[in-house]
């Protein structure tokens, strides 16, 4: 039984509007994220993805139900500093979260606030810059970085806290294709090194790296499972306006033409499946 990093129990969250109005964004959702797990959260616009992401790291506190991070309840204000050190978040537009003008100072900011002593702080900053490929840009001005570099800087900001998990809210959205692939590859590296990854995305093909996909609909869990388990629910996914990866779409198209080759998830699996089906 893997150790649990984040546990949400009957989590509900509503945004209060003026007067007595409110909008219910997350409804009675229960979820466990294990230490070192790679989870993708997908869903349509307004399905509650960003709200869930903010609840899971304690930026938003449940309206009812509970969220705990490493056993620390996010409703308890005195836990927040410790929670932030466990799980960090990267927003869609990283410009919204930078506080310093120079890359290295920006990375140092979080750990410095925790009172990390200088020699260790230096090591942590170096390690975070190294992991995100920003070592050479350590003296650069933050505003001169490209969008891809800014996203990596936001990740470095989180890594310097030496967290056990990182949550990314549509972090690939603003990136060009090459930076998008580079970011996914960085996330695979971080996962390999034991970090739990929670990736919020619209794109099923970006969710392929995840061990588990959670599909949200109107603030509730619609589907959950491994990519293969989730992709097997094609009609439900279509109804939720979610697109399967191209390879999977092709395989399903062949199935409709009476040629069943299973559910390959990448081109290699597709070729193998077609080869096998032809031999059979």
């Amino acid at each position: 039984m893997p150790e649990t990093l984040i546990r949400a129990e009957n989590l509900s969250f509503s945004y209060a509007l003026e007067g007595s109005e409110s909008i219910s964004a997350i409804k009675e959702l229960s979820l466990e994220v294990a230490v070192g797990e790679y989870l993708a959260v997908v869903g349509h616009n307004g399905s509650g993805k960003s709200t869930l992401a903010k609840c899971l790291c304690g930026l938003l506190v449940p309206t009812s139900g509970s969220v705990s991070v490493a056993g620390l309840d996010t409703r308890q204000p005195s836990n927040l500093v410790a929670i932030r050190a466990q799980v960090g978040m990267v927003f869609q537009n990283p410009d919204n979260q930078f506080v310093s003008t120079v890359v290295e100072e920006e990375v140092a900011f979080g750990a410095e606030n925790l009172g990390v002593p200088l020699p260790e702080l230096r090591e942590r900053v170096d390690a975070a810059l190294q992991a995100t490929g920003l070592l050479e840009l350590r003296d650069a001005k933050v505003h001169t970085l490209s969008a891809g570099q800014k996203t990596r800087l936001a990740i470095a900001d989180v890594l310097v806290m030496q967290p056990r998990g990182i949550i990314l809210d549509e972090s690939t959205a603003m990136l060009d294709p090459i930076n998008r692939l580079a970011l996914l590859s960085l996330l695979r590296d971080l996962h390999q090194r034991g970090l739990a990854i929670i990736l919020v995305t619209h794109y099923m093909h970006e969710a392929l790296d995840a061990q588990r996909i959670l599909v949200l609909k109107d603030g509730r869990q619609a589907l959950a499972g491994t990519p293969r388990e989730v992709f097997a629910h094609e009609p439900e996914l279509q109804a939720l306006s979610l697109e399967l990866p191209l390879v999977t779409q092709l395989a399903l198209a062949f199935g409709r033409r009476g040629w069943d080759i299973g559910l390959p998830l990448n081109v290699d699996e597709l070729l193998a499946a077609m080869g096998e089906a032809r031999r059979a």
Partner: protein
């Protein structure tokens, strides 16, 4: 008039003559055909957004380059910027930057109100564009603008620009943050607008979207225009990576399958084509 936009040898440096000077455009030229969907692509930092700002007069050509938009020379002494911006609608990359009214309906009505629309005509215009972008007028008109989700804000921003019925519509990363259904709805909308005579320019990092929509593509790289032509001419090149581009997913997959020995020709550029070709190669 066959060309909606004609830009020649344009250059721009932000905060020129200061220590913070940053070169955004060095030598950009392009021509956008009227009544068609064109795409502007290039890696982050290539100068795409800067170029867009020239097309609706947020930036004006000073010394280097010529910008002509809808027959108007933007360096002309008698340039009427108000009139230009009425004819050129710009949807910015971050929709939050262009929403400001407290209620969604008012925000969308702002443009047409400036054009003098009132009463039923105004309401019809606002409700019409809300339906077009997939925001139900009954449910959303009286919603607080900043209580919307990211995708809903984007739709509201687009509706606000459409409400002034621009002749040239520019959209900077318009489907970023929209779910697949939202993207498809937006694609349908842009095609309909083009059929109706609107010239559309999209900036996109999503090459699948460019392939699906654009009949004309311009590539910017480090402030220079390095390619102008059709999707097919662009995406069958083998040096896309030098410009920070990758081919659309379906073409990348075609090329991977081809490299693995399945005969697939360059004309294949959709999932249907690929399905048929693979079926022929493996089943027939």
């Amino acid at each position: 008039m066959p060309e909606a936009v004609c830009i020649s040898r344009l250059a721009h440096t932000y905060m020129a003559d200061s220590p913070l000077a940053q070169v955004a455009l060095q030598d950009a030229s392009l021509t956008l055909p009227s009544g068609k969907i064109s795409a502007l692509v290039g890696e982050n930092g290539a100068g795409k957004s800067t170029l867009l700002h020239f097309i609706n007069g947020l930036l004006l050509p000073r010394s280097l380059g010529v910008v002509q938009v809808l027959g108007q020379d933007l360096a002309a002494a008698d340039l009427d910027l108000g009139m230009l911006r009425q004819r050129v609608g710009l949807v910015m990359q971050y929709p939050q930057q262009q929403l400001f009214e407290r209620f969604v309906g008012d925000d969308i009505a702002y443009g047409p109100r400036q054009l003098g629309l009132t009463g039923d005509v105004l309401r019809e215009r606002v409700y019409g564009v809300m339906r077009v972008v997939g925001l139900d007028p009954e449910a959303f008109s009286n919603r607080h603008t900043f209580s919307l989700s990211g995708g809903e804000m984007r739709r509201a921003a687009i509706a606000g620009v459409l409400a002034t019925q621009p002749e040239l519509l520019i959209l900077d990363e318009v489907t970023t943050g929209l779910d697949p259904l939202g993207r498809q709805q937006m694609h349908t909308l842009l095609r309909q607008l083009a059929v109706g005579g609107t010239t559309v320019l999209i900036v996109s990092n999503d090459m699948d979207e460019v392939l699906a929509l654009a009949s004309h593509v311009v590539v910017l790289n480090r402030g220079r225009s390095v390619f102008e032509g059709s999707c097919q001419a662009l995406f069958n090149r083998d040096d896309l990576a030098a410009w920070g581009l990758v081919p659309p997913a379906v073409i990348a997959m075609r090329d991977t399958l081809r490299a693995a020995g399945t005969p697939l020709d360059d004309m294949i550029d959709s999932l249907d084509d690929l399905e048929e070709a693979l079926w022929q190669a493996w089943r027939a």
